[in-house]
């Protein structure tokens, strides 16, 4: 029974995808798309603690369960997909290829939900791959050259991530002797296994320096896809880390330090490169990189501070949920440019829905961001980190300033293209968008009321000066920049920064290879000379046989044979 309930979560979208794929003409099926996430949401809300199932016949033994972390991620994921799905339904109404979009949507959804439930390496890997590869269909959906390029980069990195993850899992499972994730983590993956796992999952999580697919994929993908991509899917990498890394009583100083370093670097570099961009969705993508950096830092801290790992993990989870919802809402915002209403109340709502998630991300008090940031920084005060790590808290705080600048830049660029809705407001989109935006306020409430035991937060965690001054600093910086810097229509740093370098390197390699001109897979044709040679040999053979056939030759050979035989008999 529990098995059925758990399996239903990924299976419902999967089956719906099959149906839509087989009957692309059925419009009624399409209406079900958003609701495919509902079982996940229901499970997150209603599942009894410790729900698990083992299906031994499936895939060398499959283990599914809902644990606290998983529940939070499940809720975030299912909710975000539901909202984005509703948005998509109306967004894609006139798209002739919408069923294709829905199929990939549902497949990615199944993968995303499944990987949260998966408790063994193989199932995790299965759903992880399902999600990664299906998302490719979402990225390239528009079919524009830009989308194809983004898709290529995405796919290459995704596949790379897959195989790295695969290798890491094999190593880890071999070391652990069994394939359950808990056992793998308990066996403390070391060396190559650890590196491979971090990298494999890091690609998905937008970890520096493998982040560059994000700024390419997000602007290229349709709005709802970007929302789930940034809000939910990249969190899968984070979840994987949380499940697989040796976050236990011993901790892992080296890895922790590395992750903190990478996370902080991502947080600031994301902002730095981001503010130089011009397209709203690209800006949001860089913001995601930056924010994921913060979460990476959180994981790193958990490795550095084993005693606080429970708190920190819960905080990271909270941050992930917060970011997922807020970023999702922001991406939807990006898709509301043509929905500038005419009436005043509607305009108020529009402004509210737009600003709320942005402010939450910046960490304005009483928003989800405030709670998440405070929760994340909480253990740092108590613990003494040595060396440069001692500045971590300060740096985390400072990052909020960057976020503010980035979001202001986003709003500015976004506003430029605002248009009045031509044929009335699109209600489903509004509902989905509004719902998500409001979560910025609802989430802290929910956390405080029904928060996890690992994270005993109180109301005063919702405010604090460390939240405000960075925002102010950000506003100031933004103002300065707005006054002082002339905007350009092309970004100062090309979108996808490192991807451009990689592509240039690839092109160079191709040119070199072409110059080297390796032979093709066909063996070279037998040249005409061989043929002539063969004919010549044939002629010579014939002449030789004619020569032998002469009676004189027969006679001589006969005598010679006699002589030869005699000699050999004599030689004895």
């Amino acid at each position: 029974m529990s098995g059925a309930a758990l399996l239903a979560v990924p299976l419902v979208p999967l089956l719906l995808a099959v149906f839509i794929g087989l009957r692309p003409g059925r419009a009624r099926l399409n209406r079900l798309v958003p609701w495919a996430a509902l079982p996940g949401l229901a499970l997150a809300a209603l599942a009894p603690p410790g729900l698990e199932a083992t299906l031994s016949g499936l895939l060398m033994g499959t283990h599914l369960a809902v644990d606290p972390t998983g529940r939070a991620f499940l809720g975030l994921t299912a909710g975000l997909w539901l909202a984005a799905g509703l948005f998509a339904l109306s967004d894609r109404r006139d798209d002739p290829r919408r069923h294709r979009f829905y199929v990939f949507w549902l497949l990615a959804l199944a993968g995303n939900l499944g990987l949260i439930l998966a408790q063994d390496a193989i199932a995790f890997y299965l759903f992880f791959s399902l999600m990664s590869l299906s998302a490719y269909g979402l990225v390239i959906h528009s079919g524009k050259p830009e989308a194809w390029r983004a898709g290529r980069v995405y796919l290459i990195l995704a596949v790379l991530g897959e195989v790295l993850l695969f290798a890491g899992l094999v190593l880890a499972v071999h070391a652990a002797g069994q394939s359950s994730l808990a056992a793998v983590a308990a066996a403390r993956p070391e060396g190559w296994a650890l590196v491979l796992l971090v990298l494999g999952l890091g690609i998905k999580a937008g970890m520096l320096p493998l982040h560059f697919w994000l700024p390419l994929a997000h602007p290229a993908a349709p709005v709802p896809a970007s929302a789930v991509l940034s809000g939910a899917m990249i969190k899968a990498g984070l979840l994987g880390w949380m499940r697989l890394l040796p976050i236990d009583a011993a901790g892992h100083a080296v890895l922790g330090e590395a992750l903190v370093l990478l996370g902080l670097a991502a947080a600031f570099l994301g902002v730095l490169v981001g503010v130089l961009q011009v397209r709203p969705k690209t800006l949001l993508a860089y913001s995601s990189i930056s924010q994921m950096g913060l979460m990476t830092t959180g994981i790193g801290l958990a490795l550095l501070l084993p005693e606080a790992r429970g708190w920190l993990l819960a905080a990271v989870t909270l941050y992930a949920v917060h970011h997922g919802l807020a970023k999702g809402a922001l991406f939807l915002t990006a898709g509301m440019q043509r929905q500038w209403p005419v009436t005043r109340p509607a305009r108020t709502a529009f402004a509210l829905f737009t600003l709320l998630p942005a402010l939450a991300l910046a960490g304005l008090p009483f928003t989800s961001g405030a709670l998440a940031k405070n929760a994340l920084k909480e253990p740092l005060a108590a613990e003494a980190l040595s060396g440069w790590l001692a500045h971590t808290e300060w740096l985390l705080t400072l990052a909020a300033a960057g976020t503010t600048v980035l979001l202001l830049r986003f709003l500015w660029r976004w506003r430029a293209d605002l248009e009045t809705a031509a044929d009335g407001l699109d209600r489903p989109r509004w509902w989905a968008w509004g719902g998500l935006s409001l979560m910025a306020l609802l989430l802290p409430l929910a956390t405080l009321l029904a928060g996890p035991t690992a994270l005993p937060l109180s109301v005063h965690d919702l405010y604090g000066s460390s939240l405000l001054w960075p925002v102010m600093l950000g506003l100031g910086l933004a103002l300065l920049a707005w006054r002082g810097v002339r905007d350009r229509e092309t970004p100062r740093v090309p979108e996808g920064d490192l991807a451009v370098l990689a592509e240039a390197a690839w092109d160079g390699a191709r040119r070199t290879r072409r110059r080297l001109a390796l032979p093709g897979p066909w063996p070279p044709r037998i040249p005409a000379r061989m043929r002539a040679l063969r004919l010549g040999a044939r002629r010579r053979l014939e002449a030789a046989e004619r020569m032998l056939t002469r009676w004189e030759t027969i006679g001589l050979l006969f005598s010679a044979a006699m002589l030869g035989l005699y000699l050999t008999l004599l030689a004895g």
Partner: protein, 331 residues
């Protein structure tokens, strides 16, 4: 040791080898054939010297006589074919582009003389030398003479060679008859016989001579056959003599070959082997073994076989001389 005999031997051998050499060396075919016939006659002389009168008889009749006749008629045929080709008679078959002429275009030049001369000579010398060496090392073996001698009384005949031929090693002889027959069958399979090349109408001398010679030959043949049981002679020699007579007959009437009736001719040429085989089967059935005779029946059976064999050999030799099957054989 008789020095005169030795001298005779040496001279004879020198003559034989010399004639053979000249024969092979001659550029004129006719001359070569005549030398070959001479060679055969000299051989017959040598066989006499080696105390083998039967062989001498056979050599003279078959080796020199029949072979000579065959060679001569062959030369005649070749000459007429060449002449016909050269004259380009209208009814001669037109050159077939894919046929023999294409082959002839590719006809190779024989190797230049000087390139085969040395190897051929040296190989011949070496082979001959080795043979001589082997022969000189041979012991004076007794051979089978004593064994044959011991069995003469049960052989049914008095002449040891006939005994060997028709009793002790009758199987060989049977096969020998078969070979003659097969040669004829082979010649026949090549096509119908053609004319012996046209000759000026025979004058009165040949028929006249024939009228005298043929009866003599028949009588001689029968005598030689009869004598075979106790003295030199026998079926082959007799057959050869009779065959020679037949050849003479054929030669005398080139334009009207006897239209031999096919059935009897076939029966005639196969009579020898057929009878021989029947006798052999009888032996097998009667428990004397295949080709064996009861001692009491040996003589008459041998004579019977010899008669049939003589007839068949004579007919076969004539047919071989004519070459090509009679028209009647195809109807």
């Amino acid at each position: 040791m008789n020095a005169l005999l030795v001298l005779f031997d040496l001279v004879l051998l020198a003559g034989i080898v010399g004639v053979a050499w000249r024969c092979l060396a001659s550029t004129d075919l006719f001359r070569a054939v005549v030398l070959f016939i001479t060679f055969g006659l000299l051989l017959a002389l040598a066989w006499v010297r080696l105390e083998a009168p039967d062989i001498a008889l056979a050599e003279a009749a078959i080796g020199a006589g029949i072979t000579g006749a065959l060679l001569l008629v062959t030369l005649e045929r070749l000459r007429s074919i060449m002449a016909e080709r050269r004259s380009g008679r209208p009814h001669s078959p037109p050159p077939d582009p894919t046929g023999p002429h294409a082959l002839l275009r590719a006809l190779h030049d024989p190797l230049p003389e000087h390139r085969t001369f040395l190897p051929a000579l040296s190989f011949a010398l070496v082979v001959g030398g080795l043979l001589v060496t082997a022969l000189w090392h041979q012991p004076q073996s007794v051979g089978l003479e004593p064994v044959v001698d011991a069995h003469m009384d049960v052989s049914g005949v008095d002449h040891p060679i006939t005994a060997v031929l028709l009793n002790f090693r009758a199987y060989d002889t049977f096969l020998e008859l078969a070979i003659v027959l097969i040669a004829l069958l082979g010649a026949w399979s090549l096509g119908r016989h053609d004319l012996i090349p046209a000759r000026p109408a025979p004058g009165p001398i040949l028929p006249g001579t024939l009228r005298l010679l043929v009866p003599v030959a028949v009588v001689t043949g029968v005598y030689v056959l009869w004598a075979g049981s106790h003295a030199p002679g026998g079926a082959f020699q007799a057959g050869a003599i009779l065959g020679a007579a037949g050849i003479l007959l054929v030669l005398a009437r080139p334009r009207q070959l006897p239209m031999a009736p096919a059935g009897p001719l076939r029966l005639g040429i196969s009579a020898g082997v057929a009878l021989f085989l029947l006798v052999g089967l009888y032996g097998l059935a009667a428990g004397h073994g295949f080709l064996g005779y009861a001692e009491a029946w040996a003589y008459p059976l041998i004579i019977l076989i010899e008669v049939a064999a003589t007839l068949s050999i004579a007919l076969t030799l004539v047919a071989l001389f004519v070459a090509g099957r009679p028209a009647g054989d195809d109807t």
